[in-house]
Amino acid sequence: MQSTSPIVFERVGLTYPTGVTALTDITLSIAPRSAVALVGPSGCGKTTLLRTIAGLEQVSTGTLTVAAGATRAMVFQSGLLFPWMSVADNISYGLMARGMPALQCRDRARHWAERMGLQRFVDAYPHQLSGGMQQRVGIARALAIEPDIVLFDEPFAALDAQTRLLMQELVCDLQRQGVCGTMVFVTHAIDEALIVADRIIVMSARPGRIIADVTPQLPDVPIAQKRALPAFTQAFADIWAQIRSEVELQMHEEVR
């Protein structure tokens, strides 16, 4: 791919018609094939930022440039699989919508189901799967279209702790295999951000602005070891120090 940034924000602001300002003065350029995490207190606008990249929201001020022709895929917090479609049809949805013939769709769906450990469930309906399995389908649906940009919106927030670890490993693996393209990962968990991303953008309480931009330079080791590294704990403490006051501010905001 091109070496220019596929996603560039320049002094972007976003105010909803209701008058609520979600984002102000966002300037950010994301390098091709990098993995960026957005962290911040809840309601800080990180999901909104992600949705602007997806094209689901329009910016009010400034400019957002997404590389021309870059295909975007998104993994949603609650999975948002289509309950009326089998696992296979869910996975190949993006391909089907782009006009791929049904047989070929089926083939690709099988391929991705196998890659995600879902081969036994291709004919199942989403409600028959566990939360972790459902989210695997969500990731498979995103990756099946071989996207240039993959957006993750707190995909593991609803999963239990162990399943979450497993899914984080999966994402790291996929990234290493180079199938995630440019990845933007929204999370409220600092440790998750440190595990899946190599660059972390810290956002303030609403209206969201960028208050820190960290690149912790952690070695590429298994999750369990990574979490025990002194560099990891140091980065965690640094980011927490940045966010802490924002979270407190947010709390007071809510009380008022």
Partner: protein, 550 residues
């Protein structure tokens, strides 16, 4: 079996019996409140002479036409309104305004405009269905999670794909819900519409019966419209299963309906219900020309009662949690998760209702003797395991089965063909009595050790193992010996000797019973006894039939 399992299906039966009894005893006036037996007769008569059938057909046609004419455009318009704001603001206020108007109130207006013919009836139904479906469809489409559309657009779906893959399937459950409600409305409405200015149809029949004071006919028509409603509901439920498969588990949607019910109802266990009925008819055939319709009805009734018993056993065993796949090799549709307990329960109730309806019809057609036979059977069935003198626990189980699944059933079937309490029919039943008692005893013989521990007093536990073995020889051997004795006394024709083809099987069963002690080794004896009953019984009946010509 526990007491409560009987009570739950006994109460509707009891109501019918009380009702019947109160009328027969003159407590209720027959003119105002005809007994169930008369209603059944009115129903059968109306079905046989075709008048009720014609009414159902006419009403069904009106419902079907009205429903289709109303529901199809309503569904399309509803979806369109749900997706398009302009259409929504044009359609929705009008629909909600008209919706609360009772459609029957508009009938005179419709008649003024369209005349009193078929068109006005169908139009009234169609109108009601249309409004119901439009409102439900709009609601269904509007309530679809907007995020699904976002997902679709994000993954590149255009408007058409979005409609086909998101809007339609996501709102389908609500749309079908609307169809179901509309069908209920259509059913109610058609009766009202036919009350006035119709010359046929179920509603007309009900009103006509009222004017003629033919209350039994009226109730028969009410039963029929209820049945029609039930059929339509089940039909729509099945359609929902087909159209909305993701609402049900894969296993459920893949298992064919027929196969599920076959497993639950266990028709292969019905020889005990079939053989005595056939035998009674075969004996009667030597004296009179058979009433085939009644024979068929008797078979259906007998099978229905047996099927109901099977279903209820499953239901209560499941509820009590006593059933495990190991205990019950044949049953257990519930354990396999093929069906819900409610489905089983209601199917059992329906089976009992069918059996009772047929029984009541026979009571009406042939007199009280059948009623006495039926009441005695129900009483014995009840006191078999319930009450302070549970027959099965004072060693009388075999005797009860011997009498009631032999002579009583055979005599009942005989009586339908030839209303005489005939001793020959009772004698002829003896070989069947012996084998059916042998089935029960094989069960008790197998469970002898656990029954002793649990202080369950069966004939087997009272006699002890060696005595119980002798009893088994007596019962199995008795079947064959009784055939010989009956032939010798001229009470059975010689072709019944054909039943001796089962002697080798009987011999094997006795040998196993003589040598084995472990319950799992004796289980094949139980199964074998049931097989023996079926084959021996059928051959014995065939012997009686052959004797008609030789």
């Amino acid at each position: 079996m526990q007491q409560n399992r009987w009570l739950s299906w006994l109460s509707p039966l009891l109501l019918l019996v009380l009702w019947e009894g109160a009328v027969q005893a003159g407590i209720l006036n027959r003119i105002f409140v005809p007994p169930p037996s008369e209603v059944v007769v009115a129903l059968v008569d109306g079905l046989v002479d075709g008048s009720l059938v014609a009414d159902v057909v006419v009403s069904s046609e009106r419902i079907a036409l009205g429903f289709l004419i109303g529901a199809i455009p309503a569904t399309l318009l509803g979806i369109w309104s749900g997706l398009n704001r302009t259409v929504y603001y044009l359609v929705r206020p009008l629909a909600t305004m008209l919706y609360p108007v009772p459609k029957i109130a508009l009938l005179p207006l419709v008649i003024v405009v369209l005349g009193i013919g078929e068109v006005s009836k169908i139009a009234t139904v169609a109108m009601s269905v249309f409004l119901m479906v439009v409102i439900h469809t709009i609601g269904g489409v509007m309530q679809v999670d907007r995020r699904y559309f976002e997902v679709g657009r994000l993954y590149g779906a255009n408007q058409r794909t979005l409609f086909r893959t998101v809007a339609l399937p996501a709102s389908l459950p609500a749309i079908i819900e609307g169809w179901k409600l509309a069908m209920g409305f259509a059913l109610t409405l058609i009766v009202g519409v036919e009350f006035v200015g119709a010359s046929n149809g179920i509603g007309y029949r009900i009103w006509q019966s009222y004017e003629l004071y033919a209350i039994a006919d009226m109730m028969a028509a009410v039963c029929l419209i209820a049945a029609l409603g039930w059929v339509l509901t089940v039909g729509l439920d099945e359609m929902e299963r087909l159209l909305v498969p993701w609402r049900h588990t894969i296993k459920e949607s893949r298992m064919p309906l027929v196969q599920k019910w076959w497993g639950a109802v266990r028709p292969w266990s019905y020889t005990a219900a079939i053989v005595p009925v056939l035998l009674g008819a075969a004996v009667a055939a030597h004296e009179v020309t058979l009433n085939w319709l009644w024979l068929a009805l008797a078979l259906v009734g007998s099978i229905a009662i047996q099927g109901g018993t099977n279903l209820m056993n499953d239901y209560y065993d499941y509820k009590k949690g006593t059933d495990t796949p190991a205990v019950k090799g044949t049953g257990g549709a519930l354990l396999r998760g093929d069906m819900t307990p409610e489905q089983i329960f209601w199917a059992g109730i329906i089976a009992f209702a069918v059996g009772s309806a047929i029984g009541l019809y026979f009571v009406y057609a042939t007199g009280p003797f059948i009623l006495w036979l039926g009441l005695c059977s129900v009483a014995v069935g009840y006191f078999y395991t319930a009450g302070p003198f549970a027959l099965a626990y004072v060693g009388l189980g075999e005797l009860a089965v011997f009498i009631f699944m032999g002579p009583v059933m055979v005599l009942g079937s005989y009586y339908l063909q030839q209303p005489v309490i005939a001793l020959p029919a009772i004698w002829a039943a003896l070989p069947v009595s012996f084998v059916v008692a042998a089935i029960l005893h094989a069960n008790n013989l197998r469970d002898i050790d656990t029954d002793i521990i649990n202080h369950k007093r069966t004939l087997a536990t009272m006699l002890g193992r060696s005595g119980a073995r002798v009893e088994f020889y007596v019962l199995v051997g008795g079947a064959f010996v009784s055939v010989l004795v009956l032939i010798a006394l001229g009470l059975a024709p010689w072709p019944t000797l054909i039943s001796f083809a089962m002697a080798p099987l009987a011999w094997r069963l006795m040998r196993t019973a003589a040598t084995e002690e472990a319950a799992e080794k004796l289980h094949p004896v139980l199964r074998g006894s049931a097989v023996l009953h079926m084959r021996f019984g059928m051959l014995y009946v065939i012997g009686w039939v052959i004797a008609l010509w030789v």
